[in-house]
């Protein structure tokens, strides 16, 4: 067993060491220690399943040694792997210590072999994947596409409650609308005054005030009230100005007015 291993070591020193030096120059091309191990393992020219992990460990350690001699900077994970492989190597070479805990050298070696095989398998699978016909390279999608027009139809809705609330909103707003004189049914004193100034010139004799009410204002009670009040107020105003005289026979008797003759003054 020991001899067999030495033999492998010797073999390593012949051809593998040359290869290892070639690898060192290109150390940047490796994607980590596992990749380096996989590359080194190819020099064994055997199926990965039959690979000698011990020989591989030696190759790797020789590689790291060489790199150190050449003062090449190796990334930390390469050195971690070297330490681990040195440990693995010793485990594989020394007879198992029954007192020692943890996995055996064989178990560790088997796992490393598994990792290498798995990485190799992934490499091959990646190659197979990339070798497949690819969209946009070997087969193609539709060149003239037609967009699906999204026609969005909006449907509006409302409930009876919305309607009632809406109406209520308007009606309450009405309640609180600022008070505005209903001018359509109201005659102001100014209007009456204006009217009477024109008419008074012809009133030489006593005339009932009601005859001064404008046409069309006597039918509707509201209008009649408004125009009567306005005309009466206007009469008072005119009397105050000295333009007319007012008289009333008794309470609730018709009020009469006539133009005041200037010469009477």
């Amino acid at each position: 067993m020991q001899q067999d291993l030495d033999l492998q070591d010797d073999k390593l020193s012949v051809s593998e060491r040359v290869a290892a030096e070639a690898l060192i120059v290109d150390v940047g091309a490796f994607e980590g220690p596992l990749d380096l191990l996989l590359t080194l393992s190819r020099t064994q020219k055997v199926d990965l399943r039959q690979i000698s992990i011990l020989a591989l460990a030696r190759q790797y350690l020789a590689f790291v040694e060489k790199a150190k001699q050449l003062r090449l900077e190796l990334a930390a994970d390469y050195l971690v792997m070297a330490a681990w492989l040195a440990f693995l190597k010793s485990r594989l070479l020394l007879p198992p210590d029954p007192k020692e805990e943890g996995p055996s050298g064989e178990e560790l070696a088997a796992h490393l072999a598994f990792q290498l095989e798995r990485l190799q398998a992934m490499r091959e699978s990646a190659a197979k994947l990339m070798a497949r016909d690819q969209l946009g390279r070997d087969f193609f999608a539709r060149g003239i596409t037609e967009d699906v027009q999204r026609v969005r139809r909006v449907s509006y809705t409302a409930t009876l409650l919305d309607l009632m609330q809406g109406y209520a909103r308007i009606r309450t707003r009405d309640d609180f609308r600022p008070f505005v004189m209903d001018r359509q049914h109201v005659m102001t004193m100014e209007q009456a005054l204006e009217r009477m100034r024109h008419l008074i010139g012809f009133a030489g004799n006593w005339t009932e005030i009601s005859s001064y009410l404008p046409d069309g204002w006597d039918a509707d009670p509201q209008r009649r009230r408004s125009t009567t009040a306005a005309t009466f107020a206007a009469s008072l105003e005119l009397a105050k100005e000295g333009k007319i005289e007012i008289r009333q026979g008794e309470t609730f008797a018709p009020i009469q007015i006539r133009k005041k003759a200037p010469r009477d003054e």
Partner: protein
């Protein structure tokens, strides 16, 4: 694509193959393809014009057709299937406040002219609001008012009554009912303009409303 000189030595692919080629090219190119272009892209000795003729026949009556556009050819959706290129989504939205108020006024005051709606609302009514309600078939034109200008009036439709579960517009709850339901109770704080805006900010009064109502 530079083909070697000795292409002529090879026989042109069978017409079935040429048809496949034209089909693939037409499918994948982003623009209509001319016969000239096809000659340039297909193997030497091909007769794209003949292949197009075959392919055109093959697509006759199918979901897509081979059509000539100017001087070029393209695969296009059959005209009768254009409707499939539209996807209709229906979205339900609440009617705007202006529309609800306008609708309410038409319902309570019909027949009513636009000027009257505006007078009642105390604010202008946009053409769009009226149009929307007409389009929804909730209001329609009534008879013209026999007043100067002969303005059109609006009335609610049977669709409206149907939607709101009313037999006639007279079944609409009256102001008294609204008041009883608490809908007219809200008194505005002095000086505030808007009233009764349930969709509005004052959360308290809103809350009250809700409690009273439900």
């Amino acid at each position: 694509m530079s083909k070697p000189e000795n292409d002529s030595l090879f026989e042109a692919p069978p017409m079935g193959e040429q048809e496949r080629m034209v089909e693939a090219i037409m499918f994948a190119t982003a623009d209509p393809v001319t016969v000239q272009e096809l000659i340039g892209r297909m193997p030497h000795g091909c007769d794209p014009a003949a292949a197009i003729a075959h392919l055109r026949k093959r697509y006759e009556g199918r979901g897509v057709n081979l059509v000539k556009i100017d001087n070029a050819w393209a695969i296009r959706t059959a005209p009768d299937l254009g409707f499939l290129m539209q996807k209709e989504t229906v979205e339900t939205r609440k009617l705007s406040r202006a529309a609800i108020e306008t609708l309410a006024i038409v319902a309570y005051h019909q027949p009513v002219t636009r000027a009257e709606i505006e007078e009642i609302r105390g604010v202008g009514v946009s053409r769009g609001t009226i149009d929307q309600l007409i389009e929804m078939e909730w209001i329609r034109f009534g008879r013209r008012r026999m007043t100067p200008g002969r303005p059109v009036t609006f009335v609610v439709t049977p669709m409206f009554l149907d939607h709101f579960g009313l037999e006639t517009a007279r079944d609409l709850p009256g102001l008294k009912d609204l008041r009883a339901a608490g809908l007219l109770e809200n008194r505005p704080p002095p000086g505030s303009v808007g009233l009764m805006d349930t969709d509005d900010v004052d959360p308290d009064s809103n809350e009250e409303d809700q409690t009273e109502l439900f």
